[in-house]
């Protein structure tokens, strides 16, 4: 089978002002959502880059759903990345210093914090997708209206769904 040549040599266009505006407005929020799931800033920023790239390829920056799409994609992409982590690497990460706990001085507290963080990530990976995404969005600071838009549920249902997600989270947490 032969296929036509890919047009890879074509120079990419400059980013549109609308896209740059969207990026500047939403980047920190997208990283924040991914960071709630991954607890690793570098990984969360990698996810955010991929999310914006996916959006850039397929959607107009002027789309009314742009922010909601980015928020949902950040949660789902981060959960996918979390589930894709090798169990062994997660154990190793639990032994290492937590990247976001550098302010802690007590080694015992560091290990305890790291173990809790690892357990929390394992729970997020086990929870149903929507529950895990809902927790990530809510605890990243999104409003009920923003969560409803991102997860395509009624705003009036968010409170109930969030409580269920929190209950599921509590049950899983030892």
């Amino acid at each position: 089978m032969t296929l036509p040549a890919r047009g890879g040599g074509q120079a990419a266009r400059a980013l549109s002002p609308a896209f740059e505006g969207l990026f500047r407005t939403e980047y920190a929020r997208v990283v924040g959502i991914a960071h709630r799931v991954l607890a690793d800033q570098a990984e969360a920023e990698d996810v955010a880059q991929d999310v914006f790239l996916s959006f850039y390829r397929a959607h107009s920056a002027d789309a009314v759903y742009a922010a909601a799409w980015l928020h949902a994609a950040a949660a789902h992409a981060a959960l996918n990345a979390l589930r894709g982590r090798d169990r062994r690497s997660r154990r190793e990460a639990a032994q290492a210093l937590p990247p976001d706990a550098t302010a802690l001085d007590d080694p015992a507290e560091l290990v305890a914090t790291s173990e809790t963080r690892d357990e929390v990530r394992a729970i997020l990976a086990r929870l149903p997708e929507r529950s895990a995404a809902m927790l990530a969005l809510r605890y990243a600071g999104l409003s009920y209206a923003e969560i409803a838009a991102a997860l395509d549920v009624r705003a009036s249902s968010v409170g109930t769904l969030l409580r269920r997600a929190e209950d599921a989270f509590r049950r899983e947490l030892k």
Binding site: M1, T2, P4, A12, Y27, E45, F52, A77
Partner: protein, 342 residues
């Protein structure tokens, strides 16, 4: 545990980001990878091309991954019999590219660029009147969901596809001629690949469709805003198999994955499949869908959903059968339907 404690468990340290640096990194990536933004006019036509590309990608992915094996005996040997399913991310670029290459062609015709695809027993779908009749025709008990969401109403229509088989023979001449017609040069085909055969079997299969238009609903438009879109499709089929008459599989894999239509990312994803002889790769559009493993009917399956939560699919393999549930549901609804199959 209260909300504050949950917030603490999920991590309260907000990351400090440098948006300017991030935007510069994004800009550099777009430029170095030659990524173009979506064009609004093209966007109108994405749907049909996307589906066409997905079909082509599915064919290439399944065949290519079936060949990622560590050696095949000289005699006919079963090299592919899936016992589980895994997602293989396929980008819009892959889909568009393969869609262009196979425009207007069925996947097997698209594969015809490599050699000769011949049905020894072609699939002949037909409609039957009941699940019992479908089971009798298929030779296995067709399972059906015991509970359905309120959005799924009415009786299903039943389809049966017979057990089908095909032979694919690789041909260096065909490959060269196809390339020449397109003014291109194909990568040289290894000598022992030329003339080697794959034996492919699939089915029988039973398909149950809720919300499919009938003659009455077609006339009255009674199925609502999307009269041609079924609300639920449930598929069940005997697990497909691929056998080989003794090609060097490592060479096959290297040859197929080096083809210009398969991106390095897609090739890497196929190579990363843990046990390709027993894993069915499901192409998942990377930008438009999410996927992750799920437990369904007590086994590991695959959930695939679009990013908006509008459509879902659950695919799994159990007891020598492949199952799929597809419809306009969220994940929990799709899983509830799948787990209620009896």
């Amino acid at each position: 545990m209260n909300e504050t404690e949950i917030a603490q468990a999920l991590g309260t340290t907000e990351p400090r980001v440098n948006t300017d640096d991030a935007l510069a990194r994004f800009r550099e990536r777009v430029e170095t990878e030659g990524i173009a933004p979506v064009a609004p006019v093209v966007r109108q036509r994405v749907s049909s091309r996307w589906l066409q590309g997905l079909a082509a990608a599915a064919g290439v992915v399944i065949v290519a991954s079936a060949l990622t094996l560590s050696g095949v005996a000289d005699s006919v040997l079963k090299i592919f019999e899936p016992k589980n399913v895994v997602a293989v991310p396929v980008t819009q670029g892959d889909l568009t590219y393969l869609g262009q290459a196979c425009a207007g062609l069925a996947p097997q015709q698209c594969l015809g660029g490599y050699g000769t695809f011949e049905w020894t027993s072609p699939p002949q779908p037909k409609e039957v009147q009941s699940r019992g009749q479908a089971s009798a025709e298929a030779g296995f008990a067709a399972l059906a969901p015991a509970s359905l969401p309120s959005s799924v109403t009415g009786n299903p229509r039943y389809g049966v596809i017979n057990r089908s088989s095909a032979t694919f023979t690789f041909s260096a001449d065909t490959t060269r001629q196809t390339a020449a017609r397109q003014n291109q040069t194909a990568p040289p085909m290894p000598a022992n690949l030329d003339g080697s055969k794959l034996f492919i079997t699939g089915g029988p299969a039973v398909v149950q469709i809720w919300g499919a238009p009938t003659e009455t609903t077609k006339a009255t438009g009674a199925t609502g805003a999307y009269p041609d879109v079924p609300t639920l499709v449930v598929g069940q089929a005997k697990t497909p198999t691929i056998s080989s008459d003794g090609v060097t599989v490592d060479q096959l894999r290297a040859y197929l994955l080096s083809q210009p239509g398969i991106s390095p990312q897609l090739a890497a994803a196929i190579r990363a499949i843990g046990d390709p002889s027993s894993t069915l790769p499901v192409p998942v559009p990377a930008e438009l869908a999410i996927s992750h493993p799920v437990t369904v009917q007590g086994v590991q399956g695959l959930y695939v959903g679009d990013n908006t939560g509008i459509a879902s699919a659950v695919i799994w393999q159990k007891d020598g059968m492949m199952f799929e549930v597809i419809g306009s549901f969220n994940e929990s609804q799709a899983l509830a339907i799948a787990n209620s199959m009896r």
